[in-house]
Assembly symmetry: C2
DNA sequence: CCTTCACCTTACACCGACTGTAAGTGTACA
DNA sequence: TGTACACTTACAGTCGGTGTAAGGTGAAGG
């Protein structure tokens, strides 16, 4: 499978050059459309690696690096003109995986990128939603100091929900993934498993995280503390 | 828990300086006693990271890097005076995790080492014996294209055997690890589990890998193909 | 050659986890 | 208030993992 590399660089000429370098090696290259709000665009693209410049219009590369490292699992390679130790230490401290300075020989960049991709491929696939982590391989959910191993069926459901956040996942979609359709099983079994999943997530302190959207399906809901403001009008009633 | 860093460097002054740098940061530093046969000494020490010079007496750093990367799971940071792209590419290609050139600022070295340690801590613990791999966390054994998930008890036994290769592991040791001694369980259950483990390993093509040492315990045996020479006098009978 | 001891193997039964079925309850919305 | 949708609980079947029991195998040693 082709691996996807996202280049966050505002100098259009350099960006093209980098893209060409990676494409020649068989990678698929992604870019972002604007530097106004790059975070969401990067997260949505699910790249396998990002090459990040530090001097960006708007938010700095440092902030971006810190934000992304708290929320995702792909490696970040810093490529910058700032050739000084202070910046390098800061970037590495924020979680950056490598720090190269311009001008950088394409072969060095490729070798460093390849090494990061190789290392990260060996990492277990861990999905994140707020402070809830889910290790897909062994179906283990972790929330702060609580953890719990889910049965396989419930794990598959949680995986789907976490992968599609913040979208709603239809019952058909879930049934297809687990039983290959609803022809030969009662739809009720899905609801039973939803109840079981909810109970398990409740055990580790995430009550009500799985929300029903009547007639459409299920989705994950942000925690109460995170939506205090927008729900201010309703909360006081409780 | 203190992390262990092994420094492979023949210049004794530089080695002391590096050791001091790491110890000041709270790491425990290991060295090797000679450069005649460093491989086994490094593997036995089970360090969390090694800092490796390229110009060594005897075997070159490149060979060492390649050998170690095929057999172990800790990160390798190259620290060398060879400041040229060719060597860097070669080292990275052989699996090295970072490549720094002397002179190197201690803070840069520390930051790079810390980043590698952090990344590798997230990797699953995988034990190796010849071409047999065992993922301890989810009890999964892999041999070439075959794989299989072991029951927990059998996994614990295999883990012990692999960790102590090529030593013999006593029955008491195994019983202690699994049942906390043989006071309240029949010794027979150990033999039953050995049979089960052997059958499972047989399924993925490693018949006879678990060997009994009468009166002492159990150990893992190298595969037939690897000991053709020393067994040459016996094999023809079969 | 026979005994003995250590080790191996198989069959069986228990237990607990996971899963789907069935039936009854709750709830949003027209 | 009725209907469609969603939730919950109880139950039973299945399966995998584990330990017990009992008999078999094989090598060391007299």
């Amino acid at each position: 499978m082709k691996q996807h590399i996202m280049i966050i660089e505002d100098d259009i000429y350099l960006r093209e050059e980098l893209a060409h370098t990676f494409e020649k090696e068989g990678y698929s290259v992604l870019s972002i459309s604007s530097f106004q709000n790059p975070e969401q665009e990067i997260l949505d693209a699910h790249p396998d690696l990002i090459v990040l410049d530090l001097n960006l219009p708007g938010k700095s590369g440092f902030e971006l690096c810190k934000y992304l490292k708290g929320r995702c699992t792909f490696p970040i390679l810093i490529l910058t003109a700032r050739d000084n130790l202070t910046d390098e230490l800061r970037a590495l401290g924020l979680g950056a995986d490598d720090y190269l300075t311009k001008p950088c020989h394409p072969d060095r960049l490729l070798a460093r990128a390849a090494r990061l991709l190789k290392t990260y491929q060996r990492l277990p696939l861990i999905l994140q939603f707020e402070d809830l982590s889910f290790d897909v391989d062994n179906c283990r959910v972790i929330q702060n100091d609580h953890s719990l191993t889910l049965p396989e069926t419930e794990g598959k459901i949680l995986k789907l929900l976490m992968e599609h956040v913040p979208d709603v996942v239809s019952k058909e979609c879930i049934a297809n993934e687990i039983w290959g359709g609803l022809e030969y099983v009662d739809e009720n079994i899905l609801q039973v498993n939803m109840t079981r999943l909810r109970k398990n997530l409740d055990k580790i302190g995430r009550k009500n995280i799985v929300q029903t959207v009547r007639g459409q399906g299920y989705t994950l809901k942000e925690s109460k503390t995170a939506r205090v403001n927008e729900q201010a009008g309703q909360e006081p009633k409780l």
